[in-house]
Symmetry: C2
Subunit: 221 residues, 2 copies
Amino acid sequence: MTPEPTIRRLAKYLELLKIELANGTEEISTTKIANIFELDPTQVRKDIEFTGIIGKPKTGYNVRELYEGIINFLNWKEPKDAFLAGAGHIGSALAHYSNLSDYGIKIIAAFDIDRKKIGKKINDIEIFSIDKMPNLIRRMNVKIGIIATPPDTAQEIANMMIDAGIEGIWNFTPVHIAAPENIVIENAQLTLSLAVLTRRIVEKKYEKTSLGEIYERDINK
Amino acid sequence: MTPEPTIRRLAKYLELLKIELANGTEEISTTKIANIFELDPTQVRKDIEFTGIIGKPKTGYNVRELYEGIINFLNWKEPKDAFLAGAGHIGSALAHYSNLSDYGIKIIAAFDIDRKKIGKKINDIEIFSIDKMPNLIRRMNVKIGIIATPPDTAQEIANMMIDAGIEGIWNFTPVHIAAPENIVIENAQLTLSLAVLTRRIVEKKYEKTSLGEIYERDINK
């Protein structure tokens, strides 16, 4: 399996390549990519190796070739149909995220238990009763499920999805979802990202003070 | 600096500890934590070491002590005031995220350029004109900024925030934000999470097929 940080970095490089393509740039070097993302060029080269794209000694990578290599690697060439469980605030925001299909998925239906929501649409995506989800997963051969329900129902929804044939779940609840080994559970958990933000702020402060220097020295021993 | 995966895992352990506390559990072992999250117990022990909390040889960790240790480590004891730039779908979903204050931040004001939004409220959070943001950051001594604007304005908004004294930015746009070294930029980029999901689904398929076995063998050489 590709290391997760590599996958995440490749998706970042792709954003840069989009800009370079729009600017008409033909070649890009690992050094340039490394400088922009504040990484070691060796790291960038290693990451790109996973895609199978080979650079040339002096000029680096062909921008279009690398762009397409990453798109293929991430499985983003053809957006895959996805079902959204939970049409609350997070679910609605996702349904409005207009360019998800540039990132490999397309939400084709939403599901909720709230009768007031059922039959309505969010950004042209119809909301169905959650009872209809398993049958529709099977009939439409949907492989990706998104869970944006209240936390206490997340595992139950995941079980319904998996039993019906879903292969990958994008989980927006803070709950740890248990699943068989062949199922992919990816947590979009915003709270984990917040943890990195708030901790890093403390660490930057430590760095600045002499107390911080002592602290840093201690933990680096 | 603490490795990012450690910070993210500690935030996950915290969710488990909340449940254990609610259940009245007093002690928890690294093995139990490791089993639930499908990790190596050594990894769990190393992660927890960063918080300074020490377990006992047989019983493991005191649940409340570990809970509070992680809360302190993540700087989540007192939620910090945060400003939200961009009151669109993502911004609104964040403003409705009722328990952000359990995760270290509290959105106290939102900012937008859309005159129709200015003066209105989302979940009791008032929307101001973006022009007022720098002055309010200074006056209210706000240190955390959230960017949920269209991508093309993200860097400009970040510059405004940083000039006014923001120390950490939670970026919801797919844009790479350039910032001085003492500023924390945390990308909540959903697209990076999607990259992991869609790539992992491919990898699980490879694992299942004999072609996959050959492929796996090759890349593991």
